[in-house]
């Protein structure tokens, strides 16, 4: 599956506009203007999606209430009465459907991704289940202090005829036409995006598909949120080629590579250029020419587009250099997932003791 068919779903937050269900080809190239009359996206500049061009009614939860039963990340069973938006197709070539869900009596909205009835197989469920595994991992390691910088799984059902995920997302993606206010927010945006990357790195997760559709900006809190973890891997895992070569680091375009947080850094760097200096990407499919970037970006992105992960700078150094060292999220802040569960930790200790006893004194 390629990102050409992989929508990143924006926020269903009230007041922030509808979720982004765009599927019109690959992530847009800067400067590629397409007449709106043919139904394609408006001329590209950069910045936040222009919400005025969306037909809100397509996404609004409406109609009769439905019952949604699911498990929360902690394993508890929960049931919602909720109104739902119209089903939208998921990534092309998949039997997935996506809709907005609003629990009765509340104002919060959620995104439900599900596999169409009768179409659930090992293969068709794999991306959804991968997103769930990563989401549950993030929920466990950030338990009690889940960061707003990362999209969040709030519920799931994997056993039914229509396996699904419920996701909480916030903000609007940075695909659409320009918003002049965004330029004033460049510093906050950069720092927040780098902080999000530092959190993923601390959690040993590599997103592998960082691109404008998957980066949301929440103006009220000046926070970036990374969403859509269907292609994510744990750091060090073998992985196929990243879904969208246009936004992928050179090593991540290979048919097989080892997932490395540095590939997300490369992709996030390109997203920053896309948002704040889009003309520098015109006609360039790979890394932009750093010398031509605006000053506020050049310093941040120095070294980010080097060819190999090992050559790229560490996140903490980049953030320190732009006076945002205090926003860097340190790995030691997170427990190892197994150790976070007292019973698992006890079991590990017992096994260690049995093993040591069998081996005898050194």
């Amino acid at each position: 599956m390629t990102a050409a068919t992989d929508p990143g779903y924006g926020s269903p937050d009230p007041g922030s506009g509808p979720p982004d269900f765009d599927q019109g080809g690959s992530e847009p190239r800067p400067g590629r203007g397409v007449p709106r009359a043919n139904g394609a996206r408006p001329p590209y500049t950069a910045g936040l999606r222009d919400l005025q061009h969306k037909a809100q009614s397509q996404f609004e939860p409406s109609g009769p209430e439905v019952t949604i039963s699911f498990r929360t990340p902690s394993g508890a069973r929960q049931q919602w009465q909720a109104t739902v938006g119209r089903d939208r197709p998921g990534p092309a070539g998949t039997p997935e459907l996506v809709r907005v869900v609003q629990p009765a009596g509340g104002t919060d909205r959620y995104i439900q991704k599900r596999v169409r009835s009768g179409k659930a197989t090992i293969d068709t469920c794999a991306p959804l289940f991968n997103e769930l595994q990563i989401g549950l991992h993030l929920a466990r390691v950030f338990e009690g202090a889940y960061p707003p910088e990362l999209g969040r799984v709030v519920g799931y059902d994997v056993d039914g005829d229509e396996p699904f995920l419920l996701l909480r997302q916030r903000g609007n993606n940075v695909v659409g036409s320009a918003d002049p206010r965004l330029m004033e927010e460049m510093s906050s945006f950069q720092v927040s995006l780098l902080r999000a990357l530092s959190m993923l790195e601390a959690a040993d997760v590599v997103h592998r598909a960082v691109a404008p559709l998957k980066v949301l900006w929440h103006r009220e809190t000046q926070t970036v949120q990374l969403v859509n973890f269907r292609h994510a891997r744990f750091a060090g895992e073998l992985a196929p080629a990243a879904p969208d070569p246009e936004w992928a680091a050179p090593e991540a375009r290979e048919p097989r590579c080892t997932a490395d947080p540095a590939e997300d850094l490369w992709s996030a760097g390109r997203v920053l250029v896309h948002v704040f200096d889009p003309q520098r990407l015109v006609g360039r499919s790979g890394a932009p020419d750093l010398r031509l970037l605006r000053a506020g970006l050049r310093r941040t992105l120095d070294g980010v587009f080097r060819d190999t992960p090992a050559q790229r700078p560490r996140l903490d150094l980049i953030m320190r250099e732009i006076n945002a060292g205090h926003e860097f999220f340190r790995r030691r802040s997170l427990p190892r997932p197994v150790a976070a569960d007292p019973l698992l930790a006890e079991g590990l200790a017992r096994f260690g003791a049995i093993r040591a006893a069998k081996r005898g004194p050194a």
């Binding site: 659930a120 090992i122 293969d123 469920c125 549950l136 056993d159 005829d161 698992l344 079991g347 590990l348």
Partner: protein
């Protein structure tokens, strides 16, 4: 002279000293291979392609492939687990993977020593499960008769060969320690315990009785001239791990590639295998499968593995078809661990493996 214990009659036998060979005729009966008048040379040669020898143990007539102990004592592996715990599915998935030559890239060739038996197994068990996605009914062994082996093959690695015999006995038999069907447990060279950690599983009070019965059978080994039971290699498979693939640490291991620890057969990644064993033990402990952990205390060397024969759960527990498909995950890892601990992969691998 290679004296080995026959798992069927429990006699010490030397098959290499037996010269008469048999073939299996169209009716499934054993017939002596002999140059007879009226039998053409071609027919004789065809009959001699796969031959068996009658076990010299003084018991009822039973047969082993002629090569049974030609390359040293066979490795007899017993599968242990209660009924409906996924043992038959695991065995079918393993045999299917071996039949697909999944060990060939690692430099291991597998030759089936009893083609008729193997074909029958493929048709009745392996293909219905792997190809047709059918749920298998548990094994049944007639009461009072010795358990029959389920398949037998030869493993060739470089110039080294070893015969491997797989035994599966009905979970029901394993729940009654007085039954002769489980006598073969006395003669096994390695044990593979199957624990069901699927979504509908729960350990009964007192744990898996079949584990206790199996361990009991091993207690008389030493006084009968065999190595003590605790010295046997053993593995515990946490079967149906796909149904727990969202739990820590199951997810981490179910995401790993099959046979990830065996980049080098002679030098497997023992630390990786030990880490999986520790996580699997912790999972059993944390989820109350404490009695299923007894083999860890009993055996000197044991590994624990997350695996799934089907790769997906039944949508409804009464389904007879795996609606979401069948794709085994990591089913050969436990077998390779047993191979390593039993010396099939060489002395270095043997020395490194097991808790």
């Amino acid at each position: 002279m290679t004296s080995v214990i026959c798992p069927k009659c429990l006699a010490m036998i030397d098959l290499e000293a037996v010269t008469e060979r048999y073939y299996v005729d169209d009716n499934g009966d054993y017939q002596l291979v002999a140059v007879q008048s009226g039998v053409t040379k071609l027919r004789h040669d065809l009959n001699s392609r796969f031959t068996w020898k009658k076990c010299p143990g003084d018991n009822w007539p039973h047969y082993w492939p002629s090569d049974y102990s030609t390359y040293g004592p066979p490795l007899v592996i017993g599968f242990v687990g209660d009924t409906q715990k996924g043992k038959s599915h695991l065995l079918a998935a393993m045999i299917g993977a071996l039949d697909e030559k999944r060990l060939q890239p690692l430099g291991i060739e597998v030759t089936w020593l009893e083609p008729p038996r193997h074909r029958r197994l493929m048709e009745t068990l392996v293909k219905p499960f792997l190809r047709d996605r059918k749920r298998l009914i548990g094994t049944s062994t007639p009461r009072g008769s010795a358990a029959d082996h389920i398949d037998i093959f030869q493993v060739q690695r470089g110039g080294q060969r070893r015969t491997v015999v797989l035994y599966d006995v009905s979970g029901l038999s394993l729940m009654d320690e007085s039954r002769v069907e489980v006598d073969f447990m006395f003669a096994v060279d390695a044990l593979l315990f199957v624990v069901d950690i699927g979504k509908d599983s729960e350990e009964t009070a007192g744990g898996d009785v079949s584990f206790q019965v199996a361990l009991d059978r091993l207690s008389v080994r030493e006084s009968n001239g065999l190595s003590p039971g605790p010295e046997l290699p053993a593995a515990i498979v946490l079967a149906k791990s796909d149904e727990r693939q969202f739990d820590e640490p199951v997810m981490r291991w179910m995401r790993k590639e099959d046979l990830a620890a065996y980049g080098s057969l002679e030098n497997p990644d023992a630390e990786l295998i030990a880490a999986e064993s520790a996580d699997a033990y912790a999972y059993l402990y944390a989820h109350g499968f404490t009695a299923s952990m007894d083999p860890v205390d009993y055996f000197d060397r044991i590994t624990l593995h997350f695996a799934s024969a089907a790769g997906a759960a039944l949508v409804d527990k009464d389904d007879m078809i795996f609606q979401r498909g069948v794709r085994p995950v990591r089913v050969l890892d436990p077998l390779l661990a047993l191979f390593a601990m039993a010396g099939v992969l060489g002395a270095n691998a043997q020395a490194k493996m097991g808790a």
